[in-house]
C-alpha cells in the first residue's frame, strides 16, 4: 500500500480529485464535509447498495454516483481514493486496478480524515471553516428574530411619527429609532466577523472573558437561551496565547453544545475564567442532560455525534480539541447523566509575573 507519510509530494493534494468508496454513515460524513472544501473536488461516490444513505445525499449535491467500483478505482481523473467500505476484498481490488499515481486512504471515516489532516495544514483551516459555516446554517431563526423585532419597533415608531404632534414624543421616538438601527447593524457586524475565514495572523494575547462574552452573543443566534440563566465568574485578566478567531470558534462550539444539552427544561450555563500560578483555566458548565459514560471517551473523535442526522457535523468538539492542542493547552470533561457537563480547558500561563494571583 502506498503510504502518504512517505510522500512529500502530498502538496499536490491541492486541488485534490477525490473518489469515495462506500456510502454508508462514514462515506456520507466524508461527503458532507469534503464537498464544502474548495481545494477538494469529489469525482464520485460508490456503493454496491443503491439504498445506502450517501447515494441519496450525493444526488442531492449533484455528485456523480456509481454502483461499480472500477469506474472510480481505475479512473485517471482521481488522485485520491478514500475507501471507507471496511471490506478487505475492496482493498485488494483497489490495489490491483488503481492508477499508479493514485493515492489510497482506507479505514474508518475518522481515520481516513485524520490521515488527510495530518498532511494538509491548509485543509485543517478549511475544515474549521467548513464546520463553522455548517453551524451558521442554524442561525437563521435567531437572526430573523433579532432583525425583525427591531424592524417592527422602527416601523411602529415611524408610522406614529407621521402624525405625532407632541415635539417631546417626536424627539424620544426618533431617538429610539436610531438606537434600534444601531442594534440591528451590530448583528450583521458580529456575524460577518464570525463567518469570515480565520486569519492566519500570528498568535496574540487573547482575553478569555472577552472571547467568552463574544461567543455568547454568537451562540444566541444558534440556540435558544430561553429559560437558561447565564452565570459568569470571570477573572478579567485571564489570558492565553492563541488566535482570537479560533478561540471564539471554540467557545461558540462549547457554549452551543452546553445550551443544547439544556434544551428541555432550561438550566444554568456557567462561564468561568481563573488564573492559577502555573496555568489559566476556562470552565464551561451546564446543568443539562449529560453524556453517557461509555460515550465520554469518544466525544473528541471526528464525526462522532449524538445529534440527529443533519443537525451536527460531528466535528465541533474535534475542532475544539485541535485548537486547544495548538495552543499547548488541554481539555478535560466531567459529566453526569441528567446532572450536567463541565468542560475544563487549561492553558499555559501567558506571563508568570502578571499571571500570578495570590
Amino acid at each position: 500500500m502506498q503510504d502518504l507519510t512517505d510522500r512529500p509530494a502530498i502538496e499536490k493534494l491541492a486541488p485534490t480529485k477525490v473518489a469515495i468508496l462506500g456510502a454508508g454513515r462514514g462515506g456520507t460524513a466524508l461527503l458532507d464535509l469534503l464537498h464544502q472544501i474548495p481545494s477538494i473536488e469529489i469525482v464520485g461516490i460508490m456503493d454496491r447498495d443503491p439504498s445506502a444513505p450517501g447515494i441519496q445525499r450525493a444526488q442531492d449535491l449533484h455528485i456523480p454516483v456509481t454502483y461499480r467500483p472500477d469506474e472510480l478505482v481505475s479512473n485517471h481523473g482521481v488522485n485520491l481514493l478514500m475507501d471507507v467500505t471496511g471490506d478487505p476484498a475492496m482493498e485488494r481490488f483497489i490495489h490491483a486496478h488503481k492508477q499508479p499515481t493514485t493515492d489510497v486512504l482506507s479505514g474508518s471515516a475518522s481515520r481516513v480524515l485524520w490521515e488527510l489532516m495530518r498532511h494538509e495544514a491548509k485543509l485543517q483551516a478549511e475544515l474549521f471553516h467548513a464546520e463553522k459555516l455548517a453551524g451558521i446554517g442554524s442561525f437563521a431563526t435567531g437572526i430573523a428574530h433579532d432583525i425583525n423585532n427591531p424592524l417592527q419597533l422602527i416601523m411602529g415608531l415611524a408610522e406614529n411619527l407621521v402624525d405625532e404632534t407632541d415635539l417631546q414624543t417626536v424627539h424620544e421616538q426618533a431617538h429610539e429609532i436610531v438606537e434600534a438601527v444601531r442594534r440591528t447593524s451590530a448583528i450583521c457586524r458580529d456575524l460577518t466577523q464570525y463567518a469570515r475565514k480565520t486569519t492566519t495572523r500570528d498568535d496574540t494575547m487573547v482575553c478569555l472573558s472577552n472571547r467568552l462574552n463574544e461567543a455568547l452573543k454568537i451562540a444566541r443566534y444558534a440556540v435558544s437561551f430561553h429559560d437558561i440563566t447565564v452565570d459568569k465568574s470571570y477573572q478579567e485578566d485571564a489570558r492565553a496565547t492563541g488566535n482570537p478567531d479560533e478561540v471564539l470558534h471554540m467557545f461558540v462550539n462549547l457554549i452551543t453544545n452546553a445550551v443544547q444539552a439544556m434544551a428541555h427544561g432550561g438550566g444554568t450555563l456557567t462561564l468561568a475564567t481563573e488564573i492559577f500560578p502555573d496555568n489559566v483555566k476556562v470552565r464551561i458548565i451546564d446543568t443539562g442532560c449529560g453524556i453517557k459514560p461509555d460515550l465520554l471517551g469518544r466525544i473528541f473523535e471526528p464525526f462522532f455525534t449524538t445529534k440527529e442526522a443533519g443537525k451536527g457535523t460531528g466535528l465541533g468538539l474535534y475542532n475544539v480539541k485541535t485548537i486547544v492542542t495548538k495552543m499547548h493547552g488541554r481539555i478535560d470533561v466531567e459529566s453526569r447523566v441528567d446532572g450536567g457537563t463541565m468542560f475544563i480547558i487549561t492553558f499555559p500561563p501567558v506571563s508568570p509575573v502578571s499571571g500570578d494571583q495570590s
Binding site: T141, H145, L151, Q152, L153, M155, E159, H226, D227
Partner: protein, 146 residues
C-alpha cells in the same frame, strides 16, 4: 388615552374591542399597543405564554377578551404551547400570530390549529389593524351564535 397595564380589562369602558398582546420584547408590546390603540382597541400585555394564560384566567378577562396577538418564540411557555391552550380552552377567541420568523411549515401548522392570521414582523400598522378588525368580526359571530 387610558392605559391598561394593571392586568385586567375595564368592563364598562367604551372600546372597539379588547386585545391581549403576548410578546417577550417590551418594545414590540409597546408599538403593537400604540398601533392598536389608534384604532380604539384596549390592550393588555403579557411577556410570555405563562403570563398570557394567567392574564386570560384573571378576573373577568375571560369574558371581556376579544382577540389574542401572540408571538411564537418566547421563554417559559412558548407561543405554540400557549396557542394550543387558548384554542382548547377559549376556542371562540381568535388568535393572530405575530412572529419574527417567516416559516411556512409553522404557519401551516398554526393555521390548521385555527389561528386566524399568521403575520411576519415587521408588519405595517394598517395591516395589523385590518387583521385584528377581521378577527373582531369573527368574535362577534361567535358571540351571536351564543
Amino acid at each position: 388615552m387610558e392605559q391598561f397595564t394593571s392586568g385586567f380589562f375595564m368592563p364598562d369602558h367604551a372600546t372597539n374591542g379588547r386585545v391581549l398582546v403576548v410578546d417577550d420584547e417590551a418594545d414590540i408590546r409597546k408599538v403593537v399597543r400604540m398601533t392598536l390603540q389608534k384604532a380604539g382597541y384596549d390592550v393588555l400585555e403579557a411577556e410570555n405564554g405563562e403570563k398570557a394564560i394567567e392574564t386570560i384566567n384573571y378576573g373577568e378577562n375571560r369574558l371581556l377578551l376579544d382577540v389574542i396577538v401572540c408571538d411564537i418564540r418566547m421563554p417559559k411557555i412558548n407561543g405554540v404551547e400557549a396557542i394550543a391552550y387558548f384554542r382548547t380552552n377559549y376556542p371562540r377567541v381568535p388568535v393572530i400570530v405575530l412572529t419574527g420568523f417567516p416559516d411556512t411549515d409553522m404557519a401551516t401548522s398554526m393555521l390548521r390549529q385555527g389561528v386566524v392570521d399568521y403575520l411576519v414582523k415587521p408588519v405595517e400598522g394598517e395591516k395589523l389593524r385590518e387583521s385584528v378588525a377581521r378577527a373582531m368580526e369573527q368574535r362577534e359571530l361567535a358571540h351571536l351564535q351564543g
